[in-house]
């Protein structure tokens, strides 16, 4: 069970970060209990450091008290990664949001973890550069949080996930040491520990600075919509595009119900009662772009059930189409007040087949399932829309979610594409990893943090979930009320 805070702890934290930067009153702590997942838990105390030295001292203090330490970025995560289920000290990065250096020649920037993703791209745009990973939450999610989750985004199809864009990190270890992994240059010699840290969900250490890779803004981008009668038809078009060896810079699928909601929220000009929309970006050098866009367009039109193409004529129209796509999760509040987003991934060759299966699962469990998918990556993002106040709805939502994930795994896919495991998908880990695999992961984690007090209760399944002990002996977690997923909190 969580240990109560020792009475002097708050004073010691004051001495480290200053009195202004310690939050310990109930009204203040309450708003640090959530991310965009269901479970809630209030931390014992929140600190808002301004530099790595303060974090080192906080971590040493936490170690001596045996307290959990949970780092927090924008708290937009969908898997409960930042929910402090063992209480303890939350290290909030809201005051560490600065760009420390931009190295134009080497196309890199040194940033603090609390920087909002989009603020980085906005700041370096005048230099002709941008930061490629673009999760839909990018206005409000931080580089630090993106590193923890190895975040993706629509444009990761061509440019890769967060892990492909982090060159180095400064990390506070459990014993309170500050270590430098990787660096400004592209290929650091030795073990790729940066690769280990990216996606470790805050369980290995606390990142206090990161060298990120920047890319030149493409000279030309063509954005267009391909319209289809059915999701199947859109799936077939995606298969033929990928089958030709073409990788557009983004390839997104929006199915009928989602298209209707987006149209209501953003008025982007999707036709009414459309079966599916593909949102496609082709970017690069001017001539190559024209050629590739024409070819992708032709492949879309050739699919049975194709209803034509619509090109964004101006930069403003292009931004409008993407604004709608990135606001999709929030806009779906117009369908139903709550949603549960499945992050299942399938091999692209199985897209159409699994999409049909997903629709069937929705029908079986009598829940509305709609997809806004990074379809080019095979990341389906089926979304179960529901109203938490409907009696008996939650078991059906969870049942449908389990089956959708199972369908992805059965098709040779996996349980999460980009949202992290967090609390949510621990129980699915044994579905794709053998006990020996999980054991190896646990040992790597122990190498970084033998105490297991960095963001405890995340990623690795509990013994009960792994099925190695009696399932009734579950780990005592400090989970708060589950008030349902709130799209409105996802600002």
């Amino acid at each position: 069970m969580p240990k109560p805070l020792s009475p002097g702890l708050v004073r010691e934290l004051w001495a480290i970060v200053g009195r202004d930067a310690v939050l310990d009153q109930p009204e203040d702590l309450l708003v640090y209990e959530y991310d965009a997942y269901l479970d809630r838990a209030v931390p014992d105390v929140v600190v808002q450091p301004v530099n790595a030295e303060q974090i080192v001292r906080v971590v040493r203090l936490a170690a001596s008290e045996g307290l959990a330490v949970t780092p927090r970025g924008g708290a937009t995560g969908l898997s409960g990664g930042v929910v402090p289920i063992f209480g303890g000290i939350m290290v909030d990065f809201a005051r560490m949001h600065h760009i420390l250096e931009v190295d134009v020649a080497n196309r890199a920037a040194l940033v603090e973890p609390g920087l909002f993703n989009l603020d980085l791209s906005t700041a370096v745009a005048p230099l002709g550069l941008y930061y490629a990973p673009d999760p839909s939450s990018q206005k409000a999610s931080t580089i630090g949080g993106n590193i923890a989750e190895n975040a993706g985004g629509p444009h990761c199809l061509a440019s890769g996930m967060t892990t492909n864009h982090i060159r180095g990190v400064e990390l506070v270890t459990r014993d309170g040491e500050l270590v430098q992994l990787g660096g400004r240059a592209a290929d650091a010699p030795g073990y790729d520990l940066v690769g280990l840290v990216v996606g470790s969900e805050g369980t290995f250490g606390i990142v206090t600075k990161a060298w990120v890779r920047l890319l030149p803004i493409p000279l030309r981008t063509v954005t267009f919509l391909a319209l289809f009668q059915t999701v199947d038809a859109a799936g077939a078009a995606v298969s033929s595009i990928i089958g030709q060896g073409i990788v557009p810079s983004a390839l997104e699928l929006i199915d009928g119900p989602s298209a209707a909601a987006l149209e209501r929220a953003f008025k982007v000009g999707y036709p009414p009662e459309i079966g599916a929309v593909l949102l496609i970006d082709v970017a690069g050098l001017a001539e190559a772009v024209a050629e590739e866009a024409a070819l992708v367009g032709k492949l879309c039109e050739a699919a049975p059930g194709a209803l034509g193409l619509r090109y964004a004529a101006t930069a403003a129209e292009r931004e409008g189409l993407w604004k709608a796509r990135k606001g999709a999760l929030a806009a779906l509040a117009l369908i139903a007040p709550n949603y549960y987003l499945c992050d299942g991934v399938v091999p692209r060759s199985k897209l159409a087949q699994v999409l049909r299966r997903v629709a069937a699962i929705g029908a079986e469990w009598e829940v509305l399932v709609t997809c806004v998918a990074h379809v080019g990556d095979g990341n389906l993002h089926p979304l179960i829309a529901f109203d938490v106040n409907e009696p008996g709805i939650l078991p059906r939502v969870e049942g449908a979610h389990d089956e959708i994930i199972r369908a992805c795994v059965d098709a040779g896919g996996t349980i999460t594409g980009e949202h992290g495991v967090g609390i949510e998908k621990r129980k699915y880990m044994p579905w794709i990893f053998a006990p020996a695999d999980l054991d190896r992961m646990a040992r790597v984690r122990a190498a970084f943090d033998p105490s297991g007090r960095f963001n405890p209760g995340k990623v690795l399944p509990t013994e009960a979930e792994a099925g190695t002990t009696d399932p009734s002996e579950s780990v005592p977690l400090r989970v708060g009320v589950s008030a349902g997923l709130d799209p409105e909190r996802w600002v």
Partner: protein, 421 residues
């Protein structure tokens, strides 16, 4: 989150829209009480509604905040002196145009007689204390004397001639539209000339302008202070006054008033006798820029060679979603060069009475805004709300910038007057 001025400044979740919504819900669920800290988090909100305009889920933050503030008022043990003050201000002063005019008259004497200069000289000796870097951490509210000095500093120059609505002003040209003008309460005594300019601009654009005599304060201050019953009483009086005018549109030149007038339909939604009338009234309300863009504007026939920038009033851009129309109108003035400042739609810190209740934070927003304005090199900053204009002028003056803060109506009126010379 990035849209919220208080989060950007203070960097704590409780001072963000997501955090505030969570606290409001927690209050509903009985997980928190209206403690001093809770109230502090709610009063620090500018109510600028930038979050609402940015929210694809359509969360109506403004309404939730108004309901929360009303709930706070309902649960709070109000001291007798505060109750007296609230009664004086909200029941005895604002609903009565005559009494407001009397107050305006007293203030005018204060300003013109040399008393103000004396008071400011004395005030400048008073040690008001250093500004705290993180005001939300302070337990105590700002000292009353400090507030008084701040309020005095922001006191606008009272108009030489108040504006008293009466009769109908007809255009020289054939009538294009029949409108009625909403004169406001503070607007009448502090911006009397702006009101007259608005009427002239409307008439110049072919509007017959009715000036219903029985209209009163819009009730915006009541709504923001959680005094909903007082606001409803004012709403009913205004609806009756404007119905009698028979105008197609009710034109407002103050963004804060316009936003509330457009919400009368919701304010009185549960009032069986008034709900329908309130909805019809709200549907007719137009901001001056909205109406002029709709007409469209008959551009002034003279060139006005100046560099201008436009500050979005929160209650225009976020609450009423009017972003393009004022820019369209400004763009139609020959010779006027319109340059955008950074973050034109970020709150200037005026926010109703925020600069009186939270002077320190308001001053930080105001100073930042002044910097952004100065960076454009504009000679004029245009806005469409009295509170914003007072705040902008005060901070530009403080910074020693020559930029003038001007209401859209005054700028247009000056251009039309130049036609005749």
């Amino acid at each position: 989150m990035p849209h919220c001025p208080t989060f950007r400044e203070l960097r704590v979740e409780t001072e963000s829209p997501r955090g505030r919504l969570h606290l409001m819900r927690a209050l509903g669920e009985g997980r928190v009480e209206t403690t001093e800290r809770f109230v502090r988090h709610m009063t620090l909100c500018l109510d600028c509604r930038a979050c609402e305009a940015a929210c694809p889920s359509g969360v109506q933050f403004g309404k939730l905040m108004a309901a929360t503030r009303a709930e706070i008022q309902a649960r709070r043990a109000v001291s007798p002196s505060e109750r007296l003050l609230r009664w004086l201000v909200f029941d005895q002063l604002f609903p009565h145009p005559g009494r407001l005019a009397l107050l305006g008259w007293v203030l005018r004497i204060y300003q013109r007689s040399g008393l103000q200069r004396l008071a400011r000289a004395v005030g400048s000796w008073h040690p008001v204390g250093a500004r705290s870097p993180r005001p939300h951490r302070e337990g105590a509210e700002t000292a009353p004397l400090r507030r008084l000095i701040e309020a005095e500093r922001l006191l606008p120059r009272i108009s030489s001639r108040f504006f008293a609505p009466k009769g109908v002003v007809r255009p020289r040209a054939p009538v294009r539209r029949r409108v009625a003008f909403f004169a406001g309460c503070i607007m009448r005594i502090a911006f009397g000339e702006t009101n007259r300019a608005t009427v002239r601009v409307l008439a110049r654009n072919g509007c017959a302008v009715a000036l219903p005599e029985r209209q009163v304060c819009c009730g915006a201050l009541h709504v923001h202070a959680g005094e909903r019953e007082g606001a409803k009483r004012l709403a009913r009086r205004n609806i009756a006054a404007f119905e009698a005018s028979g105008a197609e549109a009710v034109v407002v030149n103050a963004a804060g008033c316009g936003a509330v007038l457009k919400e009368y339909g919701e304010l009185l939604a549960r009032d069986r006798l008034w709900a329908e009338r309130a909805r019809a009234f709200s549907a007719r309300v137009r901001d001056l820029s909205e109406l002029l863009a709709e007409l469209p504007l008959d551009p002034p026939r003279v060139r006005m060679s100046a560099r201008a920038t436009y500050q979005d009033a929160c209650h225009l851009v976020h609450a009423q979603r009017i972003r393009q129309q004022p820019r369209t109108v400004l763009g139609a003035i020959p010779g006027l060069e319109l340059v955008e400042m950074a973050d034109a739609d970020r709150c200037c810190g005026s926010a109703g009475t925020y600069n009186l209740t939270e002077p320190e934070l308001a001053a930080r927003f105001g100073a930042q805004k002044a910097d952004d304005i100065v960076a454009t090199d504009a000679e004029i900053v245009v806005s469409a709300n009295p509170g914003c204009l007072i705040q902008l002028a005060a901070h530009l003056r403080q910074r020693g910038a020559p930029t003038r803060a001007v209401h859209l109506a005054d700028l247009l009126d000056a251009a039309y007057r130049a036609e005749r010379s």
